[in-house]
Structure formats: C-alpha cells, structure tokens
C-alpha cells in the first residue's frame, strides 16, 4: 500500500461495483446466469450467453489459463516507469469468463499461451485492490 500510487486508478462503472468490492476482500467474483449457467466478464445487466436477466454474482475458483498475452516494452504511463517489460494477459478462468490482468512472478520470456495461472490480490491503495495472476 502506498500514498504515492502512480498507476491509473480505475473509474468504476455501476455494474462492476460487486467485482471491485469482492477484490477488496480478496475474492474474485464474476457474473453467472441463473438460467443457463454461463459465466461472463466484464459485468453487464444481461447474460451474454442466453439473454436472461437472471444474474447472480458468484465467487470464481481464481484458476485459469493465459488465453493470450502481450509484453509492454514501451512506457505508456509514468506509473509504470521502471517496470517495463511487463506482461498484460487475457486470463480464461475455469468457469469460462475471460478477463484482462497482469501475469506476474515469472520471467516475461517464459509466459506462454494456455499456461495455467491462479489469482492473487495486490492491495494497490487503501481503497483499490487488483486481482492479478501468477503461474500455478
């Protein structure tokens, strides 16, 4: 935790409040359809699988794999100064939903598509916790 946190602070949309509140409690929560069982991300007000309005927030196992990834070598934001190269990945959770995050705890050149990963939580500020992923 730090008072001089220099990275971007997300501007939270009304539909994603449960996700960010869950992260603060170190829980990864996503939406699940009460009708067809589909999980999806980012949050919305309708099931992206079947169109049902029967939506529930559920806890993800936090396990998944790297569907794809990129390695940032160029600095786009001063908050990342000194941290390039870093990995941004699309994580496919066991439940099927995909989300963007960082893959950490492994040399950037060793990251591969389909590599198994699991969530951990980085307390960025007193009010912001970020779900990130590391190799299993």
């Amino acid at each position: 935790m730090s008072d001089d946190y220099a990275k971007a602070i997300p501007v939270t949309g009304p539909e994603s409040v449960p996700y960010w509140e869950g992260a603060k409690k170190h829980q990864l929560v996503i939406q699940k359809c009460g009708k067809c069982g589909h999980h999806w991300f980012p949050p919305s007000t309708v099931c992206t699988g079947c169109g049902s309005r029967d939506i529930n927030w559920v806890r993800s196992s936090g396990k998944g794999k790297v569907f794809s990834f990129v390695v940032f070598h160029r600095l786009y934001h001063k908050g990342w100064d000194g941290e390039v190269p870093y990995v941004v990945g699309i994580i496919e959770l066991e439940e099927g939903a995909r989300m963007l995050s960082n893959v950490i705890g492994i040399p950037v050149e060793d990251v591969k598509c389909d590599m198994p990963v699991e969530v951990f939580f980085e307390d960025a500020t007193d009010t912001l916790t970020l779900p990130k992923f590391k190799p299993v």
């Binding site: 971007a8 997300p10 940032f72 070598h73 934001h77 870093y86 963007l100 598509c113």
Partner: protein, 393 residues
C-alpha cells in the same frame, strides 16, 4: 440467415478519388486536410462542390456531428449526410452506405472521406506522445485496462498475433514479410511517407513496442486525408475519369468482443467477405489485387486467411511466398499501405483500390490486367470489418 443481395451489383460507381498531402503537414486541421482530398477527388471526376448532394465523413472522434462541420465549410446541403463511428471499418462502409443512400433515392452524388491530423496531434504535447494517441483519454475504457498498464491499439492487436502464433506456428519473420512487401511498394509511390528500403534484418532488429510487435509491425502516424465520389454507373460514364464499378460490399462485426470465442483469429472479415463476394458474384480466386487494412502486420495476415486467399493458419506461408508483390499471386497494398504510405484508417486504401482500376499508373506500380480488386476496412477496436469489391467498367 442473411440472403445475398445482388441488385446493387455494378449499379453504382466511384467516379473520382483524391488524397491530401501526406505525412507531417503542420498548420492544417483534419478538416482542412479532408477538404484538400475532397477537392482533389472532385477535380478527378470533373465535378465541383455544386454537384454534391450526399456527404459521408468520419471526423476526429471527439467532434460531434462532424459532417455538419464539413458541410458548413464546403457550403453543401445534402439529402443524405452522416458521420460514421466504426473505427477503421468506417471508410469502406462509407462507400457502401453512399451506394445504398443513392439507391434509396436520398442523394445522387456523394462525397465520402476521412482526414486526420494524427501526426500533429501526437506531437502536440508530451502527454499525447507518451500515450501514442491524439485522442482524449476519456474515449478509452476507464476500468479493466489502464489499471493493469494496458494501453493502445498495438497491445489489442498483439493479443491476436500472439494467439495466432500459438495456434498455427506463425512467426515474426512472416509478419516481417508483410512489412517488407509494402515498403517495396512505397518505394514506387513518390507520395508515400517511407522512402527507405527495409530489410528483414532491419525488421528483426526493430525496437520492440508491445511484443510481439516491433516498430515495423505498426502503421504510421501521419497527417493525411482521402476522399472518393460515389454516383450511378450511368452518370459516371459521362464524367472525366474512367468509372470504377462497385461490384459488391459487405460488413461483419464481431462486437461480442475481441476477447470472445476465437474472434481474434477468425475476424469479421469472414462474414464481411462472404457477403461482398455474394453480392459481386465472384470469389477470392477472381480478385486481381487487394488493399487490406494494415494497422498492424498481423491484421493483414489474418484477413488474407479470412477472405479465403489461403487456408486458415496458412497466412504466414502465403505472405512469405512473395504473394503480396506486384508480380505475386495477390499484389497487396500497392501504395505502401498504412505501414509505409500513410495512415488514414483505410481511406487511402479505397483511393488506391480505385486508382488501380482507373489504370493511371506506370508499370512500376500498375497491377497488370487488373479487373477486380478487394478493399478491406477494419477497426472499431478490432472487431468491425467492411469490404468493397471494385471492378473495371
């Protein structure tokens, strides 16, 4: 199930094409660049602003109803006019929309164009330069991205390239073959921004931006504009320039998301191409040249597959075979494209697609015996595609 539409085939034409100065053009707004291109297109057709009753634009994204600004500056009232906001798919779609509007009796002669002062904007201040964008930050997602250091189109497209490399064994050398082919074309285009030859060694030693993309995988940041005139094939016959027939067009939009399903390796070009081929009554084997939207090298490779010029997964071998050269199986981006000519999100590729059928070039740039060409537009945060099939009159 969408039924193929054929009644528009060869009924409308592009009667003129033009572009502005390209590259670093300080002291001119995006609107000024677009006017320059539009007036050049009108000159090409032997028309003036007084002949125009349709105006379709894409403007700097943060300007509300951009077509009204252009109408005011040009002194044009129009039966049909709008601003499109479909990213790089807007420009080819603008031509299709013009044909549809004319067919519906809402206009008879439409100007379609796009201009952007992107070099000037990116270099206007340090903040824009660091973000690599001239657009306001507010236009991008504010959660599920920036907090993870995820910025820019290079990374978005890079995910697709990485997954394609994983699924099909595509290599960086194969992406490089695309850059090299387009640079060769640019050397025969005196208006192209890039005028130095590019070798595979240069490509592989290029500064890494967002892996798997280096500097030479990325399109240029330029000030530039392009425009074309759409009218009936009948009327175009009587104008100054040889008419170029609109044989078919299509769109396909994987707007359920780039991260969804296999959208990043099977793009909107599949549906867009099938629709356009059906309208035109042709297939990939009939296409003599292509102008493929090349924001990044990978997008060329995947679109070539999705348009059926080679099988899925074989795009790497196809581009490395020399197919994209002027004497190759499918001469592609014959002006140098967005990687080496200038980047106006697909508009200059419409212009080049038209000029190849006007037959105005010398042998160093003219595709021999060109009769049918395909132009693609791709964008809208990587999931929107539009396709135009043009034919000689």
């Amino acid at each position: 199930m969408i039924e193929p539409s054929t009644h528009l085939r060869d009924k409308y034409a592009i009667a003129g094409a033009g572009h502005s100065r390209l590259g670093k053009v300080p002291g001119v707004s995006a609107q000024g660049l677009l006017e320059e291109a539009m007036l050049n297109a009108l000159d090409d057709a032997g028309l003036t602003t007084r002949d125009v009753d349709g105006l379709i634009c894409r403007g700097p994204d943060e300007i509300y109803t951009f077509h009204q600004i252009m109408g005011e500056r040009l002194g044009i009232d129009a039966g049909f006019s709008t601003t499109l906001t479909n990213g790089g798919a807007s420009q080819v779609m603008g031509v299709a929309l013009a044909a549809m509007a004319i067919d519906a009796g809402m206009a008879s002669c439409a100007l379609v164009g796009y201009g952007r002062d992107n070099w000037s904007r990116v270099h206007a201040n340090k903040e824009n330069h660091m973000r690599g964008s001239g657009r306001p930050q507010q236009m991008y997602g504010m959660e599920f991205g920036p907090e993870f250091g995820y910025y820019g189109a290079i990374a978005a497209h890079g995910f697709g390239a990485q997954r394609h490399m994983h699924d099909y064994g595509t290599t960086r050398e194969q992406f490089g073959a695309i850059s090299l082919a387009f640079r060769k074309h640019a050397l025969n285009n005196p208006d192209a921004v890039m005028q130095k030859p590019l070798t595979m060694e240069d490509y592989l030693n290029g500064r890494m931006i967002v892996e798997p993309f280096s500097l030479f995988d990325c399109s240029l940041q330029t000030d530039a504009a392009g425009a074309v005139i759409v009218t009936s094939a009948e009327r175009a016959k009587d104008l100054r320039q040889k008419p170029v027939l609109i044989k078919g067009f299509g769109t396909g939009n994987n707007i359920s998301g780039w991260f969804n399903g296999d959208n990043m390796t099977h793009t909107g070009a599949i549906q867009s191409g099938q629709t356009a081929y059906a309208m035109a009554g042709v297939g990939p084997e009939d296409i003599d040249y292509a102008q493929i939207y090349d924001c990044f090298t990978y997008m060329v490779l995947v679109q070539l597959e999705d348009y059926g010029f080679c099988k899925k997964g074989e795009g790497g071998e196809f581009v490395a075979s020399g197919a994209l050269d002027l004497d190759g199986a499918l001469p592609t981006n014959t002006s140098g494209g967005q990687l080496s000519e200038a980047h106006v999100e697909g508009m200059l590729q419409v212009v080049e697609g038209v000029r190849q059928l006007q037959g105005i070039y010398g042998p160093e740039r003219q595709v021999p015996n060109a009769e049918i060409g395909l132009v693609s537009g791709h964008g809208g945060n990587t999931v929107c595609e539009s396709t135009l099939i043009l034919g000689a009159a």
